[in-house]
């Protein structure tokens, strides 16, 4: 695709205006439970700013739960609890007095299935976060909507129909709209929970490219059970099995010279 690099440059430029700071994350002894089910058993992990960090592991291993502990979405599930510390630029997001609502403004999230607000237009979807924060200035909104849609590589496809419902887009476009919606509030980290699992291969590729582009400005954590995807998209990969972080290292190292036997078994397809 000849125009990829060109689009890539534009994407980065627009994301750069939106994102003024990318945070690093340090998870310390993170445990999580669903009622009595202990799904995360003491995860320590450092996530570097402006990198794509992939988290891989078989279904049900706790990788999505770990992701949802990073923006305090886990605790919203009835019966769910967690413990441990998650430091964002050194400050614990679980410290007493920290409001989860504030945390979620700094840590954006993209979900497994695209979930645009069905009653809102494309424009309103992208503007939703800002409007919630009380932004009323039409010029600011217009600008941010355009920037975030450009940063999500969606602008050219939708600029003539911003008033149409978000649900009128294709699956891949909807997912990029959700990315734009998350970017519009200038997050410092973007969590992606298997963002391409509901998409076709072409749309998947676009999301992956986008993740790589955005990582120039932003910290990205992506959960996937697709190892090729992790290899294509990430700088650092962590492998979670049965609620424990088995191994973390550069993606290159994990996929070519895994240190742990279980990691090797998993990436060579012996289980999972």
């Amino acid at each position: 695709m000849p125009d990829t690099t060109q689009a890539g440059v534009a994407v980065t430029a627009d994301a750069a205006v939106l994102i003024d700071h990318a945070a690093g994350i340090e998870a310390q002894d993170v445990h999580a439970w669903f009622d009595r089910l202990h799904v995360l058993r003491g995860v320590f992990m450092t996530i570097a700013p402006r990198r794509v960090t992939a988290i891989i592991g078989p279904s049900g291993c706790g990788k999505s739960t770990f992701l949802r502990c990073l923006n305090r979405m886990h605790e919203l599930v009835p019966g769910a609890r967690s413990s441990g510390r998650v430091l964002m630029d050194g400050d614990d997001i679980y410290a007493p007095g920290v409001d989860p609502v504030q945390v979620r403004r700094r840590v954006g999230m993209v979900f497994q299935k695209p979930n645009p607000f069905p009653t809102m237009s494309i424009y309103d979807n992208a503007a939703a976060g800002l409007r919630l924060a009380g932004e009323r200035d039409r010029r600011v909104l217009d600008e941010t909507v355009e920037r975030s849609l450009r940063a999500a590589a969606l602008w050219d496809e939708v600029k003539d129909r911003l008033g149409r419902p978000g649900t009128s887009l294709s699956g891949g476009q909807q997912q990029r709209l959700c990315i734009a919606r998350a970017l519009a509030v200038s997050p410092e980290v973007l969590l992606m929970d298997e963002p391409a699992s509901a998409l076709d291969p072409a749309a998947t590729l676009r999301i992956e490219e986008l993740a790589r582009e955005l990582a120039r400005q932003l910290t990205i954590v992506i959960v996937t059970h697709n190892m090729q995807q992790a290899a294509r998209v990430s700088d650092v990969t962590g492998f979670i099995l049965d609620g424990e972080l088995v191994e973390v290292g550069t993606t290159d190292q994990i996929f070519t010279r895994p240190r742990d036997r279980r990691t090797e078994d998993y990436i060579t397809g012996r289980f999972g």
Binding site: N71, P118, T119
Partner: protein
């Protein structure tokens, strides 16, 4: 062989609902026929109600039914939606079941008991406690003109509001709970507070179901008989004041039917037929709206 036969038996029983609905339409039309032929559509525009002369018009009853229902919905809709939002989004888990259960009990209390309570508790309270300050502050409005008797449109609207609010709560809570988690999470992950999530993601998604719930309550209010009969005053008149006694379609049927004959009887059945057709329509609309809410608004477009 037995299977086919049994399937037909089941289908026949289910079809009984269809047969009954059709039979009701037919029987009421036949019963009302003398009045339909005599008065036609003028029935809805006339205020005459003279059993001796045999001249009947339903206008004051239609007016009373509509206004008492409007007062009821004016109170019940905001309150009911508030409770629904509380139950589906805000209440702590341990509080949801008991409150939901108590709301169900509110719906289970028989109409005649509401009426009894209305006569002996609500009417004196409205007369002595609620009306004087209303009159003192808003008395310049025609809505609060005249002496507050206690019985009348205001009390009827109040008691109707209490009776229909459980339906608004039950149905709106249900449609709001049915909003997919992914919609809530999308808003929460943007840093929305619980209320902002409700406003931005839950209510728009559930909107048609909430409108359906209101329609359902409207149908109940239009047709409710006993409690209204006991507190509305039963005077066929059209007055702007909510303090004035009034009369509703169902109340006049309840009071006069057992002693009516000939055209009087037909006129009452005519009024009942109208009530049936209106509530049937409102209910069908309500159900279609609620069913549509289950599919979410996104799929309606395109």
């Amino acid at each position: 062989m037995g299977d086919r036969l049994f399937a037909h038996l089941l289908a026949a029983m289910a079809g009984g609902v269809l047969v009954i609905t059709a039979a009701m339409l037919a029987a009421l039309t036949v019963g009302a026929w003398p009045a339909i032929r005599k008065f036609g559509p003028a029935f809805f525009a006339s205020s005459a109600w003279d059993p001796v002369a045999g001249d009947f018009g339903a206008l004051p009853f239609i007016y009373g039914t509509l206004v008492s229902s409007a007062v009821a919905l004016g109170l019940a809709v905001p309150l009911g939606l508030g409770v629904a939002i509380f139950l589906s989004e805000l209440a702590p888990g341990w509080l949801r079941r008991p409150v939901g259960f108590l709301v169900e009990l509110l719906a289970a209390i028989p109409s005649v008991v509401y009426g009894l309570w209305g006569i002996f508790v609500l009417v004196p309270w409205v007369r002595a406690t609620l009306s004087p300050p209303l009159k003192a502050t808003l008395g310049f409005l025609p809505l609060f003109e005249g002496p507050p008797l206690g019985i009348g449109m205001l009390t009827a609207g109040l008691i109707l509001a209490i009776m229909v609010v459980p339906f608004i709560i039950a149905v709106s809570t249900e449609v709001m709970r049915a909003v997919p988690t992914s919609q809530r999470e999308a808003a929460l992950s943007l840093g929305a507070t619980v209320w902002e999530t409700t406003r931005a993601a839950v209510i728009p998604y559930a909107r048609s179901g909430i409108v359906g719930a209101i329609f359902l309550a409207l149908a109940r209010a239009l047709g409710e008989t006993m409690a209204v009969t006991m507190v509305v005053g039963n005077v066929p008149q059209i007055r702007a004041s909510l303090f004035a006694p009034a009369y509703t379609i169902s109340a006049v049927i309840a009071n006069e039917f057992a002693e009516a004959t000939d055209v009087h009887l037909a006129a009452l059945i005519y009024a009942g037929l109208v009530l049936f057709l209106v509530t049937l329509t409102v209910n069908i609309l309500a159900r279609l709206l609620v069913a549509r809410a289950g599919r979410g608004p996104g799929l309606i477009r395109e």
